[in-house]
């Protein structure tokens, strides 16, 4: 029964959601809305699970002195800091998002600069990777290289300053060859998605139970 009950729940939920899409009238429309609300509530609880898992993993790492255990202290400190400032701001201002709150202070002065710095580093690594990877080794690689250079120039003002047809060429590349490939890939992906959904609803695909 440990396998059958989840499969029955999955089948009924999936089937009702498909029916509600075509018949959004009572009782199906209401049922679907109820399922969506349940989904949102369950999604909220998954964050608690994630928190539990994160704390346990990092405490274990510190206790066992695994490689990089010192960073776990930083992570746990950050976690506690955000929780404490979040709750303190919530009690004081009814929301953590009040600009004068301690949560927003830590958000603007710690989280934002850290995230921005991490992402800004990408500019350097992408430049280095482009230099190493974009080699005209084959005909296809050469085509890719030329297309990338045109789009890179066409998407910035200097492209038009060099030659006014570069943005036109860039738009053509984005709107014709790029779209053709993209559509082909997307149609394949979504057909695969439909097939996988049907397999899950009908109980053929059961790997999610393990």
């Amino acid at each position: 029964m440990r396998r059958e009950i989840p499969i029955i729940i999955t089948f009924l939920t999936g089937f009702l959601c498909v029916v509600a899409f075509f018949i959004p009238h009572p009782p199906f429309g209401g049922l679907q809305q109820r399922f969506l609300i349940w989904y949102a509530i369950i999604a909220g609880f998954t964050m608690v699970l994630g928190l539990d898992s994160l704390v346990k993993y990092n405490i274990k790492k510190i206790v066992q002195r695994k490689q990089g255990w010192q960073y776990s202290y930083v992570l746990l400190f950050g976690l506690v800091l955000v929780l404490v400032t979040g709750f303190q701001s919530w009690f004081k201002y009814n929301t953590p998002f009040e600009l004068r709150s301690s949560f927003m202070y830590s958000y603007i002065h710690i989280i934002v600069p850290l995230q921005a710095t991490m992402f800004a580093l990408l500019a350097f690594f992408i430049s280095s990777a482009a230099y190493r990877a974009f080699r005209a080794r084959t005909f296809e690689a050469t085509l890719l290289l030329i297309a990338a250079a045109i789009v890179m120039l066409g998407r910035v003002p200097i492209g038009k300053m060099i030659w006014d047809k570069i943005p036109v060429l860039s738009d053509w590349l984005l709107n014709i060859p790029q779209l053709a490939a993209k559509r082909g890939i997307q149609i394949g992906v979504y057909l695969g998605g439909v097939v996988m959904s049907l397999r899950i609803i009908l109980g053929i695909e059961r790997t999610y139970l393990t």
């Binding site: 899409f21 429309g29 809305q33 969506l36 609300i37 989904y39 949102a40 999604a43 909220g44 998954t46 964050m47 201002y93 009814n94 929301t95 953590p96 998002f97 600009l99 949560f103 927003m104 958000y107 603007i108 989280i111 934002v112 600069p113 995230q115 921005a116 991490m118 992402f119 500019a123 350097f124 992408i126 430049s127 280095s128 482009a130 230099y131 190493r132 974009f134 080699r135 005209a136 080794r137 290289l145 250079a149 890179m152 120039l153 998407r155 910035v156 003002p157 200097i158 492209g159 038009k160 300053m161 943005p167 738009d171 984005l174 709107n175 790029q178 779209l179 993209k182 559509r183 997307q186």
Partner: protein
């Protein structure tokens, strides 16, 4: 020939240093460049321009600080355009860590435009559930957002009077650095027929062109270039327009490195 050989193996620290310089110098020198307005950005701008005053626009903040340089200028220009047009903004988001960032800009622009909370705009906050929330709003927004981000009942605000589902929303604008824009199109636009345009990072923009060409969205504002174009259209160029010379010269530097690498590669290949 030794120099040509070296071109194939430039020290990556030199690449890092060059990129650092070419980004910093145009910003320090405050260089300016003419900005061409693309059809997809103009179309997004005109979508808002063509809305009658008082229409409700749903803005979804699905980005965080990692993409702020690209998306924040779009959001600020969007707020200015909407408030000038006397449109009502209902705003939410599917990225818990991103919403406070939007709050920062929202506070600044609402003060600049004298917009009143609860009348001209409302912050509904974050709810977990992602696509479930998107679809659920199609029936009744209060099923997911009974209160605003401060826990006050949404029915106590004039802006929410008569706003129940997508029939009452004239436009959706998604500010996203991930797949959120695609989800809005697939789960909401195609199902409920509501108008939408997307403000996304440069990396994500090509993903949305099929939807633009199919007429499922009315425009794309993509990357720093798109943000700069939008700033120009709204008439208040800020950080995006200011950043375009740096991005332009950085692109030239990357292309130069690629050319050097290929010269070195062919020289070494010929030797072998």
């Amino acid at each position: 020939m030794k120099l040509l050989d070296r071109l194939a193996n430039i020290d990556r620290r030199l690449i890092f240093l060059t990129i650092g310089f070419v980004v910093a110098i145009p910003i320090i020198l405050k260089l300016k460049m003419p900005i061409r307005i693309s059809s997809e950005v103009r179309s997004a701008y005109e979508t808002i321009e063509n809305l009658p005053g008082g229409s409700v626009v749903l803005a979804s903040m699905d980005y965080d600080a990692t993409s702020a340089p690209e998306l924040t200028p779009m959001f600020r220009s969007f707020l200015r355009q909407c408030f000038r047009k006397k449109l009502k903004i209902v705003y939410t988001g599917h990225l818990a860590i991103g919403l406070p960032l939007a709050q920062f800009d929202l506070d600044a622009i609402t003060q600049e435009c004298n917009a009143v909370y609860g009348e001209d705009y409302i912050n509904l906050g974050y709810r977990p559930g992602y696509t479930a929330v998107m679809i659920g709003i199609g029936r009744e927004i209060r099923d997911f957002f009974a209160v605003d981000y401060k826990g006050v009942s949404v029915d106590s605000f004039p802006i929410m009077k008569g706003v129940h589902n997508y029939n009452d929303i004239a436009l959706i604008v998604d500010f996203a650095h991930g797949s959120a824009a695609e989800y809005w199109i697939q789960y909401v636009v195609s199902r409920f027929g509501v108008k939408m345009f997307a403000c996304v990072t440069g990396v994500m923009a090509p993903t949305l062109y099929p939807y633009l060409q199919a007429g499922q969205i009315t425009g794309i504002i993509g990357g720093l270039q798109g943000a700069a174009e939008y700033e120009m259209l709204v008439g208040q160029p800020e950080t995006a327009a200011f950043g375009m010379p740096a991005q332009s010269i950085a692109h030239i530097a990357i292309i130069a490195f690629i050319i050097f690498g290929n010269i070195g590669y062919f020289v070494m290949k010929r030797k072998k």
